[in-house]
């Protein structure tokens, strides 16, 4: 298992956990806000929960309050890198 979450994996999680389809390229290029994508606070909690189950490690509490995918990935990846 990779220890870095990619934009592709986030896009897949957004689809699975929040029901929002968005192309990874779009996330990479424009970093649109979760709000504008239709991912609400519950959707983000679902994504965090799914990641915690996959990686068997808690995510930083701020992750679920991220405003954009880039911010989110920075937070969760720094947590995974430090081997939390």
């Amino acid at each position: 298992m990779t220890d870095r979450i990619t934009v592709e994996e986030l896009a897949e999680l957004m689809k699975k956990s929040a029901g929002v389809t968005v192309a990874p390229a779009e996330l990479r290029a424009n970093d649109p806000g979760f709000d504008s994508l239709g991912v609400d606070s519950l959707g983000l909690l679902g994504i965090v929960g799914e990641l915690e189950n996959r990686y068997g490690t808690p995510m930083p509490p701020d992750a679920e309050r991220s405003k954009t995918p880039r911010q989110f990935l920075e937070l969760v990846n720094s947590a995974l890198m430090t081997g939390a």
Binding site: K16, G19, V20, G38, L42, E52, N53
Partner: protein, 413 residues
């Protein structure tokens, strides 16, 4: 705004997602023709159950009806509700530009008899199969009975009075009555009705405890109320949402007034005490007529509850005779689509409005050889001048409800 005494609640839009059609037009066409669509249950995980026949909604694509995120975040009963509400609001020509101007003047009332059972079963499976951390965040808002009212209110920006009747079958009529009363108290519009989705495996197992449930496997024989072959009822999914509006407001904005919610009353005579439902139903009918200011002989057609249990059918036939006599035409189009719990009488109300508009009483599919003193319309639709219709409903938990609908000529006030 006019005073409460002068406010009248009318129907200005109807949206239907039913086993026989996912639009008001297709529903009416099949209903008028008496086409029965009951069939073997095909939903995944249900094939082995002793409940074999139901009214499934097959002609409905949720992904075409609601935004993608709702497919993950809400249950099937809410997909039906959102789609039906959209259809009703479109028919009533109540777009966002109208409703956004006065969000507190538009509310939502639904009746919910079983909640988001399929969603709930999936999350229970996560919890018990994998562990509590696998329960998703949307379980907290998708399973519960209030889901559809909440989602419609949020999706359309409606901030008026919002309610949920967690009723049995009769709850569908109670929801319409709630809406009518809210309109009389001063809210301009209430989007009201009921949709249900009880055809998931665990929900179906839960229903097996009802003695009144039909377990017959032949779809044409499974639900035949008022006959000597009556063997219970067949469940169904889907339902309808109506736009209930203050008549004055509706006319001001040039909306078409389809019918008046003229009178309603509800009584209770105990779960499965069908013999006693005779008096309960008669009492409710008298109350509804009284509120409508309507004489018994003014009722031109009755949409019966038609449970399909001999004792209950007898009680209903007698209740109708007690109040209205035995000459009034009676119909039960739900024998063609099944009983969708709280949604069933709402679909009957839609059929009643359309019957009045078209001057046609739709028939009772699959039902022949009536064994009660009842003028039941069977076989083919019957042409008739209809000005006032009565919709009856009884619930498995003991409620009886009656609703009087009146036709309103365009321009009258």
């Amino acid at each position: 705004m006019s005073g409460p005494h002068s406010r009248r609640a009318v129907i200005t839009g109807m949206g239907v997602i039913a086993p026989n059609g996912a639009s008001t037009d297709t529903f009416w066409k099949a209903t008028r023709e008496g086409i029965g669509v009951l069939d073997r249950v095909t939903r995944e995980g249900c094939e082995h159950l002793p409940l074999r026949v139901a009214g499934e909604v097959r002609d409905f694509d949720p992904s075409a009806a609601v935004e993608e995120r709702f497919l993950v975040q809400t249950d099937r009963f809410t997909h039906f509700a959102m789609a039906a509400a959209d259809l009703a609001l479109e028919e009533a020509r109540l777009g966002r530009t109208v409703t956004d101007a006065a969000p507190f003047s538009v509310g939502v009332v639904t009746a919910a008899g079983s909640g988001g059972g399929e969603f709930g079963q999936r999350e229970l499976q996560q919890l018990w199969g994998k562990g509590s951390r696998y329960v998703g965040p949307y379980q907290s808002i998708a399973w519960f009975y209030a889901a559809s009212t909440g989602q419609i209110s949020i999706r359309r920006g409606f901030k008026g009075p919002c309610s949920v009747v967690a009723g049995d079958e009769a709850g569908g009529l109670d929801a319409l009555a709630h809406a009518a009363r809210a309109v009389r108290r001063g809210t301009d519009v209430i989007v009201a009705g009921s949709t249900e989705a009880p055809l998931a495996p665990y929900s179906m197992v839960c229903q097996l405890g009802y003695d009144e449930l039909s377990t017959e496997s032949d779809p044409t024989r499974a639900y035949r109320p008022f006959t000597s072959a009556a063997c219970g009822f067949v469940p169904a999914e889907g339902g309808a949402m109506l736009v209930v509006e203050d008549e004055h407001t509706a006319r001001e904005r040039g909306a078409q007034v389809r019918a008046v919610l003229a009178g309603h009353a509800a009584t209770f005579t105990g779960a499965s005490r069908w013999e006693e439902s005779r008096h309960g139903l008669a009492h409710a009918v008298r109350g509804a007529l009284d509120e409508a200011g309507c004489a018994p002989e003014e009722i031109d057609v009755v949409f019966a509850d038609a449970l399909g249990v001999p004792e209950a059918d007898t009680a209903e036939a007698l209740a109708i005779a007690d109040v209205l006599g035995t000459r009034v035409p009676v119909t039960a189009p739900k024998t063609g689509i099944g009983r969708g719990y709280g949604a069933a009488p709402v679909l009957d109300a839609v059929a009643a409005v359309l019957a009045m508009e078209h001057g046609v009483i739709p028939p009772t599919p699959n039902v022949f050889d009536i064994c009660h003193d009842l003028d039941l319309v069977t076989g083919r639709a019957r042409t008739a001048e209809l000005r006032t219709a009565l919709v009856l409903s009884r619930g498995l938990m003991g409620s009886n409800s009656a609703l009087v609908l009146q036709r309103r000529a365009t321009g009258a006030s």
